[in-house]
């Protein structure tokens, strides 16, 4: 019970601080909006090209958003050594990680939710018919981004060159997730949309494996 009660208390703190300052959400939303708009103006894709290249562009934008959004998660805890205070206060250190993971996934999903309608309009991709399926792909992909990104954010926060380290570690590690998410999304953007369960299974496996690894070894990530 302590894990869940500690996690919910810490998640409340994460949400309160972010919604009070809105620093992360505002900058990330503006950043990925710029990416999507600039790509649209630069390539001026046809509807067919949008169907082919749109999913890749979309997930690249989400990946950039994640690398921007996930960086401060543990960095903020270094400012006043609050991570040490949390480690002394929680019964299960995994609660610290889990609360940040939940917050990061939620922030990423909010960003994606704001971006999707603009993407649909700019790239002329009809999304209304596949909203539930797309939501599932977005959730599994975003969870994978957050699990990996939050873990690497904990590692990079204690390193020198931390601002560079996270994207350098994150981008190669997320390549399989990026491929699976892009393929699953592309199948939904096709003339005859289908939910590709093979890629969904891959995403679920990715999420479960990384989450289990962090659950088993996460405490070491929080040590000085």
């Amino acid at each position: 019970m302590s894990l869940f009660s500690n996690t919910s208390v810490l998640l409340g703190k994460e949400l309160r601080t972010e919604f009070r300052s809105r620093e992360l959400l505002t900058t990330t939303v503006v950043f990925i909006l710029m990416i999507v708009v600039l790509f649209s103006f630069t390539f001026d894709p046809t509807r067919e090209e949008s169907r082919r290249f749109g999913p890749g562009l979309l997930w690249l934008a989400f990946l950039f958003a994640a690398s921007l959004m996930l960086q401060p998660g543990f960095l903020r805890e270094q400012t006043n050594d609050t991570l040490s205070a949390l480690r002394l206060s929680v019964s299960d250190p995994f609660a610290i990680f889990l609360s940040k993971l939940c917050a990061n996934t939620l922030f990423l999903l909010i960003t994606e939710l704001l971006l999707l309608p603009i993407f649909a309009v700019l790239y002329n991709v009809p999304l209304l018919g596949v909203v539930p399926q797309l939501a599932l792909v977005l959730f599994l992909g975003s969870l994978g981004l957050s699990v990996t990104g939050t873990t690497l954010s904990a590692i990079s926060a204690q390193a020198r060159m931390r601002e560079l380290l996270l994207p350098l570690l994150l981008l190669p590690l997320l390549t399989p997730l990026l491929i699976a998410s892009t393929e699953a999304t592309a199948a939904l953007f096709a003339e005859n949309p289908v939910l590709r369960w093979d890629w969904l299974a891959f995403l679920i496996a990715f999420d479960v494996i990384f989450l289990t690894a962090v659950w088993l070894f996460g405490e070491y990530l929080l040590e000085e």
């Binding site: 009660s5 703190k13 309160r16 400012t79 006043n80 205070a85 206060s89 299960d92």
Partner: protein
């Protein structure tokens, strides 16, 4: 009855080394801290006081040697019930108010009636009227008061204080000394790093001086205590 009155906890450090790369922060430190002792650590900057306290808090893992508690504790007991730590940094969130900070940690520590305890502590540290202000708007001394209140939330049996009087005005130092005296008399084990003599150092029942990561003096004799604490600054 406070936890300190029901559980008295001692610490035993055996041949503790801490290396950062090739640099020794602590070198073969062995200490037996009896339950209820109030130990003042003195030493020049970089002598290893902070590292020793962080190892005692189990925030830093020693490179060699062993830390044990008596009676033995499991990890969750240690973390949630028994240790309070005031570090150099305030260990509170600038973006939260004083009350939100204390409520956050009170809930994590699963303190019964957290709102009541937080209000009482805010009154004690003189911040009740500023309870709704963001910590980032506070002066250094006010932040230190919040930091001390956070460490005292659960009336810990082991209290670790790294230069706790930093930034406090004379009133704050007197309040802190009175609070520590009460905790010491109730049986809490207190380890604190200090610079020179003060109202707080007068509470110490034992003085230990560190130099270059090693214990160079250790006394429980009242007459020798001030010399242990002031030598480093001489």
């Amino acid at each position: 009855m406070s936890p300190a009155e029901t559980r008295r906890i001692g610490l035993r450090l055996e041949n503790i080394d801490k290396r950062y790369g090739g640099l020794y922060a602590l070198r073969r430190v062995s200490l037996e801290i009896e339950p209820g002792e109030c130990v003042a650590f003195a030493g020049r900057n970089g002598s290893g006081k902070t590292t020793l306290l962080r190892i005692a808090a189990q925030l830093v893992r020693p490179s060699a040697g062993k830390l044990t508690f008596s009676p033995a504790q499991n990890d969750s007991e240690r973390a949630t019930k028994n240790t309070g730590f005031v570090a150099h940094a305030t260990m509170v969130y600038d973006e939260l108010t004083a009350e939100e900070n204390l409520m956050l940690f009170a809930r994590l520590l699963e303190i019964p009636e957290p709102a009541h305890r937080v209000e009482s502590l805010l009154r004690d540290v003189g911040l009740l009227e500023r309870r709704g202000s963001l910590v980032r708007t506070f002066s250094r001394g006010m932040r230190q008061r919040v930091a001390i209140a956070r460490a005292l939330l659960h009336e810990p049996s082991v209290l670790l204080l790294d230069e706790p009087a930093t930034g406090l005005d004379p009133q704050g130092v007197s309040w802190l000394a009175a609070t520590l005296r009460r905790l010491r008399d109730a049986g809490s084990t207190i380890l604190m790093s200090l610079h020179g003599e003060s109202e707080i150092s007068g509470l110490a029942t034992r003085g230990i001086r560190l130099d270059a990561g090693a214990v160079v003096a250790d006394t429980r004799t009242g007459a020798n205590l001030p010399s242990i604490l002031t030598f480093a600054d001489a």
